[in-house]
């Protein structure tokens, strides 16, 4: 047992060191492996050294570990880089469900020793909290997952926020009443479970797809807190340590993400931003015409530029065009054109998502320029090529207070001499609003699938 405590101590240390190292590009990968190592010794230490684990149950434990490992590895290996956000959301939901189940079983343990009202109130409270947070995290993550794979639409019920807050208070009220012995039926557990799952669904349902990363990050920290509840329950330091660490780091990460979009967390949670058709077209109507450019004209324009900035968006990722985009960059560089990438903090579906995608196709790290550093450079840029991005270059965020994205920091692409927007159609972006940039006299549209169009652009450039 004492040796197990030392293992837990080491594991806890690896978590802190792991997260610390994850914060720097050079050491990030090792950091992840160190934390994974700590997790492994904590798991095996628990199996073999924890008092009370029956050897007769080893079969079940190892069976579960093997099943989970095989499925988890397969899913994690198979998922495309574009699908990362939903994958994280899915795994997060699994952790939440796990925490919820622990509470269910522990409550059952209590029932075997007598009425649950005889149990220590603190223990009961922890069990209920673990169940509530775990279930919310599970249900919420699954809805977020469904939204990201576009199987679930945004749905806003009438008085949704009132219903949500009321429901949450009801859940906490019932849990408190049961903890303090005012409710005596053991079925209260299932009531709490059902209501928490319902809350998880209602909590995420009205939040627009564009805000999903923030929601996932928040649910991530919820699961951390749920894991910490387990730590309290078993007086287990490593669970407490890991759970709280993720809970606080996750919360801060959520706030940082909101800041990147220049919005507050409350605004994200109750603002119904991008709530489907509700907000669409709420911004001012744009009248004007768009001008198209041919691929060969675009190629000529770029070839004789000094500096080209590429603004990649989710459209590039969906079209799997990151590799050909890198090729375009190389062809242009060979012609002596300076090429940079402008990375909006929320480009893609999560902060940093675009960097991961571009890194996948070998784009050099120092070419990826963050928004604050690239914005002053647009004035000296000849051509900005916007590939599958929309909302992050929408000037309405700066000059139209009626727009739902008003206040969000954007890339100042309109400062450049020319902009070329590569898009499949004139359809509005993820936030569901029109983009007046398309109608700017300096802008030309290049319609088509990002991958196909970029490939043709590259061959045009090569033949020039």
């Amino acid at each position: 047992m004492n040796f197990l405590q030392i293992i837990y101590l080491i594991a806890s240390l690896t978590f802190v060191i792991g997260i610390k190292m994850l914060g720097k590009p050079e050491s990030a990968r090792r950091g992840n492996l160190i934390a994974a190592f700590g997790m492994t010794i904590a798991i095996f230490g628990t199996i073999f050294l924890y008092e009370g684990i029956k050897t007769s149950n080893y079969g079940w434990i190892f069976g579960g570990l093997i099943v989970g490992t095989v499925i988890g590895t397969m899913m994690a290996k198979k998922v495309k880089m574009t699908g990362m956000p939903q994958m994280v959301s899915f795994f997060n939901g699994m952790g939440g469900a796990c925490a919820g189940i622990i509470s269910l079983v522990e409550f059952d343990h209590i029932l075997h020793t007598g009425p649950f009202t005889d149990a220590e109130p603190v223990k009961l409270g922890i069990i209920f909290l673990g169940l509530v947070i775990g279930s919310i995290s599970f249900a919420g993550s699954m809805i977020a997952f469904g939204k990201l794979v576009e199987k679930i639409k945004d749905n806003v019920l009438p008085l949704q926020q009132v219903v949500n807050i009321g429901l949450l208070l009801l859940i906490l009220g019932i849990a408190a009443a049961a903890t303090l012995g005012y409710i005596t039926t053991p079925n209260v557990l299932y009531l709490i479970l059902a209501l928490s799952l319902l809350y998880g669904v209602l909590f995420v349902m009205p939040i627009g797809g564009a805000d999903m990363p923030v929601v996932i990050s928040l649910l991530n920290s919820f699961t951390g807190v749920a894991a910490a509840m387990g730590g309290f329950l078993y007086d287990n330091k490593v669970m407490l340590f890991g759970g709280i660490l993720v809970g606080s780091a996750g919360t801060l990460l959520t706030v940082v993400m909101c800041k990147a979009m220049n919005r507050s967390l409350t605004n994200v949670l109750i603002g119904n931003f991008g709530g489907g058709s509700k907000n669409a077209g709420e911004g001012k109507e744009i009248i004007g015409s768009v001008k198209e450019i041919s691929k060969s004209d675009a190629a000529v324009l770029m070839k004789y530029s000094k500096k080209v900035v590429i603004v990649p968006g989710y459209g590039l990722a969906v079209a799997q065009a990151q590799h050909i985009c890198h090729e375009l960059e190389q062809v242009l560089e060979d012609e002596g054109v300076e090429v940079k990438y402008a990375i909006h903090p929320v480009a893609g579906r999560m902060p940093g998502h675009m960097n991961v995608l571009l890194a996948e196709s070998n784009v050099s790290y120092d070419k990826l320029i963050e928004m604050d550093d690239i914005n002053p450079e647009f004035k000296t840029t000849d051509v900005v090529l916007i590939v599958g991005a929309n909302d992050v270059v929408n000037p309405a965020a700066k000059n139209d207070p009626s727009s739902p994205i008003y206040g969000m920091p954007i890339l100042d692409v309109e400062d450049a001499a020319h902009t070329i927007v590569m898009k499949r159609s004139m359809k509005a972006g993820y936030a569901g609003i029109e983009n007046e940039l398309f109608f700017s006299p300096k802008n030309s549209m290049l319609f088509g699938d990002a991958k196909k169009t970029l490939t043709e652009l590259v061959s045009e450039l090569k033949s020039l």
Binding site: L22, G68, M84, N92, A99, I101, T223, G250
Partner: protein, 101 residues
């Protein structure tokens, strides 16, 4: 009320630990470049998979069918969280490895 005060008195170390961990968590994230937010979130996601320890405990102590079945499911789900989380993070970070110019 008394139970709460007793609880705090009996679990002082735990409570100190929680408070300090909150600050450590905040401190660790504060200076991270936004490019690493996604891998970091994913890594943190894997770390809260530590909830698997609880799943192993309920599974290991299981005496009846109810606990056995739920325990088994919990172990599977917890493992999914841990293994999937770390593998996905590693895949993301693999791409950040140093490249020759």
């Amino acid at each position: 009320m008394n139970t709460i005060i007793d609880f705090i008195a009996n679990n002082q170390l735990m409570i100190y630990l929680v408070i300090l961990m909150i600050f450590v968590g905040i401190e660790l994230i504060e200076k991270v470049p936004s490019v690493l937010h996604t891998p970091l979130m994913s890594g943190a996601n894997a770390i809260h998979g530590v909830v698997i320890i609880g799943a192993i405990i309920i599974m290991g102590e299981a005496e009846n069918m109810y606990a056995t079945i739920l325990g088994f499911i919990a172990v599977v789900l917890g493992t999914l969280n841990v293994v999937g989380g770390f593998v996905v993070t590693d895949r993301m970070l693999e791409m950040f490895k140093k490249k020759k110019k």
